[in-house]
Symmetry: C3
Subunit: 276 residues, 3 copies
C-alpha cells in the first residue's frame, strides 16, 4: 500500500526517527498510517526506560511534514456517524494519545506542509522546529467538516484558543513567522537547516538524564489532564454530521476541483427583525 509510517531504530546516540511516507501525496495520512503510528508508539511505550531510543525525531519524507488526511479514503467511512466516530475515536485519538503518552522526548522536524492531522501530530510533540517556508493549518471547514472534540482539546491546549479559532473558523493557513508569533512552533530556522536543527535538539536531549526528562514529561501530562475529559457518550452527538449535505458537498467539490457551495443559494434575508 502507498502510505506508511516507518521507525528507524535508535542510532549510536540513541536517536530514533519516525518517518511519515506517502509519496505524491505530501505524506497525507491514511487509516493505515494512523494505525502504524499508534502501533509503533505503543511499542515504544511498552519498552522499559533503559531500552530503546532516548529521543525520537518525527519527520516526513520528501520535504513535507504531513499534509492532512488522505481524502481519497474518506468515502469509506466519513458519511456514516458510526464509522466516522470510530475513525476519530478509535483510529485518530488513540494514535495521538500514544504520542502524548510517550515518555521519551519527541522532536517534530517540520518541513513544508503541516496541516490537519499533521498539525495534530506536531501538537503532541515536545519540540516543534520548522523552516521558513513551512505552512500550518486545518482548513477542513472548506471540506464541510469540523475538528473532532478530543483533537480540539489537544491542539487548543498547545496553540491556544485564539489561534485555533483562526485556523478552524477562517480556514486560514499560517506561515512560519505567524506560527512562531502565535507560539505554535518552538523555533523557526532556514529551510535548509530544519533537519540539522532537529538533530541538534535531539542530540542535546539524548545527552540529558532520560529519567529527568521522563519525570518532567509525566508531570506535564498530569497537569494537562487534571480535569477529566468528557466521556465517549458525551462526544457521540458530535458525529451526527456524517451523512449531511454540507459534508458531502465539501468533499465532492474538493474531489471535483471546484468551489464548494454550502447551503447555497443563501437563506432568505433575516426573518427576525432588528430589535433595537
Amino acid at each position: 500500500m502507498a502510505g506508511h509510517v516507518h521507525l528507524h531504530p535508535a542510532d549510536a546516540q540513541g536517536i530514533a526517527t519516525l518517518r511519515f511516507s506517502h509519496p505524491g501525496k505530501l505524506n497525507a495520512l491514511t487509516v493505515r498510517m494512523w494505525r502504524d503510528l499508534r502501533a509503533l508508539l505503543e511499542g515504544l511505550n511498552r519498552l522499559d526506560a533503559d531500552e530503546g531510543p532516548r529521543v525520537i525525531v518525527v519527520q516526513g519524507e520528501g520535504g513535507s511534514f504531513v499534509a492532512g488526511a488522505d481524502i481519497e479514503e474518506f468515502p469509506d467511512f466519513r458519511f456514516d456517524a458510526e464509522t466516522l466516530a470510530h475513525y476519530h475515536e478509535e483510529v485518530v485519538a488513540p494514535a495521538l494519545d500514544a504520542l502524548l503518552d510517550c515518555e521519551r522526548p519527541l522532536v517534530a522536524q517540520i518541513e513544508g506542509a503541516c496541516v490537519g492531522g499533521g498539525l495534530e501530530i506536531a501538537a503532541c510533540c515536545d519540540i516543534r522546529l520548522c523552516g521558513e517556508s513551512s505552512r500550518f493549518g486545518v482548513p477542513i471547514a472548506r471540506l464541510g467538516f469540523p475538528m473532532a472534540p478530543h483533537e480540539v482539546e489537544i491542539v487548543a491546549r498547545v496553540i491556544g484558543e485564539t489561534t485555533l479559532r483562526e485556523l478552524l473558523l477562517e480556514a486560514r493557513v499560517l506561515n512560519a513567522a505567524e506560527a512562531r508569533e502565535r507560539g505554535l512552533v518552538t523555533r523557526v530556522v532556514e529551510d535548509a537547516q530544519v533537519a540539522a536543527e532537529a538533530r541538534r535538539s535531539a542530540e542535546a536531549m539524548a545527552a540529558l538524564s532520560p529519567q529527568a526528562l521522563r519525570l518532567s514529561k509525566r508531570a506535564l501530562r498530569q497537569f494537562a489532564h487534571r480535569a477529566p475529559l468528557s466521556s465517549r457518550d458525551e462526544r457521540a452527538p458530535h458525529y451526527d454530521y456524517a451523512s449531511s449535505a454540507e459534508h458531502r458537498e465539501g468533499l465532492a467539490a474538493f474531489n471535483e476541483r471546484r468551489p464548494a457551495r454550502f447551503g447555497s443559494p443563501l437563506p432568505p434575508a433575516d426573518k427576525h427583525d432588528d430589535k433595537t
Copy 2:
C-alpha cells in the same frame, strides 16, 4: 435614550452587523446596551441553523469600538452589593455568555478604544481584527473597582494571565502591536483597512460550511467549559466592595476630573519588622 445596540440583518452574503452606538461617549456601554446585546444574541441563538446570518461582524459606530461602561450610570447600582452583583451576574454575564454561546462566527472589528466591557465583548468573539492605533485596557483599578470573577475567567482564558495582570493590576493600556504580541488580537492592519479586513474575514467564513464552523465552535466551547465554574453563592462575597470608600473615591475623582486618592494619607510605616 442615548446608547443602543443595533443589528443589521444578514446581507446577500449572509453577513450581519452588530453595532454599538453611543454618540459622544465612544460607545460606552449602558445597562440598556448590555440588555440589547443579550436580547439580540439570544434571538440569534434561537434561530435554526439554516436561518439568519452566517457570520456576524461586531463593530462600534464612529471610529471607536467600545470604551468601557458608561460611568454616568454607576451611581444607580454600583454602591450596593446586591445591585452590583445583579449588574455583573444578571446583566453583564448573560450578555457575554450569549456571545460565547453563539454558534455563528463573530468577527470583532476593533477601531480605536477597546476598553473594559469592550475588551470583554471582544474576548467573546472568534476573530479579533484591529487597527494600528487601537488601544486595549481595563484600567478600572483607577476607579476603585475590580473585574468580576466570571469576566476574569472569560478574559484570562483568551488573553492569558500574564497579560490580564498587566491590564488589571498596572491599569496599563496596550497599543495594537503590544496587543498582537500578547495574542490579544488575531491580526493588526492599517487603521483605514480594519473594516475591509473584517469584511474579508466575514466573507471567507460565510463561504465555508456553516455546519463545520458550528460544530468546531461547539467543541471549542466544550473544551473551555470542561471544569465546572464556581457557583453564584461562591462569587457573592466578591461584590461586598460596593459601598466601600475606595470604590466611591475612584468614581468621584473620575467624575470630578481629579486624581483619586486611595487610602491617602498612606498607612504608617510597616509595623511588622524585617524578619531576616
Copy 3:
C-alpha cells in the same frame, strides 16, 4: 549563614522590597532562603488590608535575580525520596503558594540570571520586568532531576506548555527577547533601566485602589485554581528518583565540573523491529 532573604519595609509610597541575597552564588537559593521567603510572605499575608506595603518589588542583590538552588546543599536531602519530597512539598511549594496567595501586587525586577527556583518565584509574581541581558531557564535535566509536579503546574500556567517543554526537555536557556516573545516576561527594558522600570510599575500600582487590586488578584487566583490540584499522595511516586544513579551522576558531574554521563554506555540498538 550565607544566603538570606531580606524584606525592606514599605517606604513613603507604600513600596516594600523583598531581596534575595547570597553573595558569590548569584543568589542561589538555600533551604533557609526558601523558609525566609515563606515566613516573610506569610507575615505579609496575615496583615490587614490597610496595613503594610501596597506593592512589593522582588529583586536579587548584585545584578542577578536568582540563579536556581544552592547545589552545595543537595547532598543533605536530595538522595532520599522522603527528604526530597519534604523539600519540594514542605519547603518549596509553601513558599511559592505564599507568593501566589499574596494579595498585594508583586513586581519581579529581573536582572541577570532567572533560573530554576528563581524562574518559579518570578512566575508567582504579577509583573515580570527584565533587562536585555537577562537569562531564563530550568536546565535541571543536566543535573539528573525533573521539575516537581506542583512547580510544573505553577510555571506551565504562566509560561505555557510549549515554552516549559523547551526549558525542561532541551535544558535550553532563553535570552530576554525570546522570553518576551514567549510571554514569559511582561516587558523587557535596557539593563540599566530595570530597577527604574520596576519602581515605575510599583509606583503606578501603589497609586491605584488597593482594594481593586486585591479583589482582581483574588478572582485571578480563583480562576487558576478552579480544578482541584492533585493530592499529596498522588504526587508521592514522583520523588522515587531520589536515590537513582542518574540523579547522583548529574549532581556529581556538576560538582566535579565534568560532563554528566547518563546511562552511558548507550543501551544496545533497538530490540523491537520496525513494524511497517
